[in-house]
Amino acid sequence: MTPAVTEIWVFVAQFLALALVLVLVQFPLGNWIARVYTDRHHLRAERGFYRLIGVDSGAGQSWRAYLRAILVFSLLGILVVYLLQRVQQVLPYSLGLPPTSEHLAFNTAISFVTNTNWQSYSPEVTLGYTVQLVGLAVQNFVSAAVGMAVAVALVRGIASRNSATIGNFWVDLTRGILRILLPLSVITAIVLLAGGVIQNLSGFQSVSTLTGGTATIPGGPVASQEAIKELGTNGGGFFNANSAHPFEAPSAWVSLFQIFLLLVIPFSLPRAFGVLVGDRRQGWAILATMSVFWVVSNVLLFWAELAGSGKALQLAGGAMEGKEQRFGIALSTIFGSSTTLTSTGAVNSMHDSYTALGGAVTMGDMMLGEVAPGGVGSGLYGMLVLAIIAVFVAGLMVGRTPEYLQKKIGPRQMKLASLYILTTPVIVLLGVAASFAIPGVKDDVAKTSILNPGLHGFSEVLYAFTSAANNNGSAFAGLTAATPWMDSALGVAMLLGRFVPIVFVLALAGSFAEQDRVPVTAGTLPTHRPQFVGLLIGTVLIVTALTYFPVLALGPLAEGLS
């Protein structure tokens, strides 16, 4: 077999193994998630926690109260992470590092609270262990739990009738952490540790090498951080090189395991959704839609990188710039596709050095709106909003009042769904436009931030705003983002990109909850059949392509075709 043919088989084998395990695991995990959020009993630890924080666990919240709890909790999280960074020099285990700048602390605090984990900084030279653990790791857990809570609240709204409440945020938050994320993280961290991921507090060790020089070996509590980083679709690396760093992913099987981790909850949530609405076929339809995009993206990215177009890559004889030898092209691209489709943003290879079309695939993945399968929770609620749009479009075609899961899609629901799908593109496009239109900013962006010349430099900025507004967090990392403009603009993009859509989703949840169910008739559009999956895929594609095609043509497509 020629090397290229071997590589294709290796890709197919790894991808199929991953897909098979995911399909098998989503049954029990999806069922478990559905049970966690409907269980009438509270664990003793949970009851203690509710007493401690003064919450009546039996009281439901209106969508407004639910939203207010999320906003207050998240704002407080931002403040705490900001302050921890600003007083870093007095915290223990800070490795002698100074406090971060105001704009970097602002950006990083928002980044971790919004489940984005964009990193304008290089962790090993910026943040000590205390900020990483007490600030960032905590947000890795709670931001993921917030995402799941919002998704469950929406599903609850759809499943209930004539109800003024959509659940209790504090209960959903607690259960998401205590019964799902924490136990899975403990198991995962132990597996990672066994695989060679470090867990210590030794700082940087200096050793004498065989050649008489010195080498630096970093330390850190990495395994505990790495587990929730993938499981919570967070993606913020303990080290600058993220999941490419040999202490974060020592071997190929660990990297493949990490891809599984970042996909497993998003791919299990459709099952939980099906169980919660009492019709598992509805969950299958959502899962099928998500899977189609995931398969196509994986194939496209692998093909682009295997072809390895680009002057430098052709000269090297393969697209290995920014890729680790133990992963090779196949495992790097499976990670690349999965991380950009899940809002994780961890990387095991450097996307900035991908081929132009490969880079376009990763950007396109994020531009889908992080719904295939998307982030923990955010993927499901994003896809359900698109399902509402799809049902509406179908309703227009046959001239019937649209319904989804026995809920009427009226003007209020359509307004909320439309606002949802408009929010992220507006942030992305305005952010990119402002970066190149404001005179002072433009010079700063061109001279300080952009690394690569020409069209690729434009792609770096486009990637940054796409990643921030969609709460992904990966980067064309050549971009120097720790500047006042980039830190501030991307910080605002992440904040709006996370919480404005959540407002619309919870408003939708409330509007569905208070409706009664409408009976299923012969004229009701079935939303569990392949026909609807096709319609939903079309809706996702049309919304994305119409919005982003022009701007993609300016950057990666132009570079790839020139």
Partner: protein, 202 residues
Amino acid sequence: MATPSGTARQTWTALRALLVLTVVLGILYPAAIGLVGLAMPAQANGSLLRAPDGTVVGSSLIGQSFTTKKGQALPSWFQSRPSAAGDGYDGGASSGSNLGPNNPDLVTAIRDRRAAIAKLEGVPESQVPADAVTASASGLDPEISAAYALLQVRRVAAARSLDESAVRSLVTERIEGRALGFVGEPTVNVLELNLALSRLGG
């Protein structure tokens, strides 16, 4: 008890919740994993490698450069991949080059590396594998391809006045295949190879 609905009460609740969660998730959870790490000290502490005299010479996971201070390859050692971490293999500054596929600087760098390696190993440029001329994602890649390791055998053996077949078998013994036959790529760990080489003498 009434539902905490007012913003002030929600804030007080949020503050207490965040405090408790910080203790559990930010301190107790990593500490528990740290305790588990005590049972797996080799992994937890970074898979350190020692010379025969017991001194730590590096980690099997963190790549090193085997060059002069100016970056010239030392002919008696197997060479690692190019690195963009600091000045090269700086364990305190992991990084890829992040240079784009058409970046002229990258084109020049790859052209120079190819020529230099072909000259060093005494082979035509077409025989230089891709991993030998490209910087890894982490800048700390501890491994190279089997092709690049085998390419270096003749030069290393000559520099150490060793039998070429002895050095070659040192390499072939250390070619790590794909896990389960299909996960990842075959590799050779450079530091482990060089450590074995130093035991061989020459």
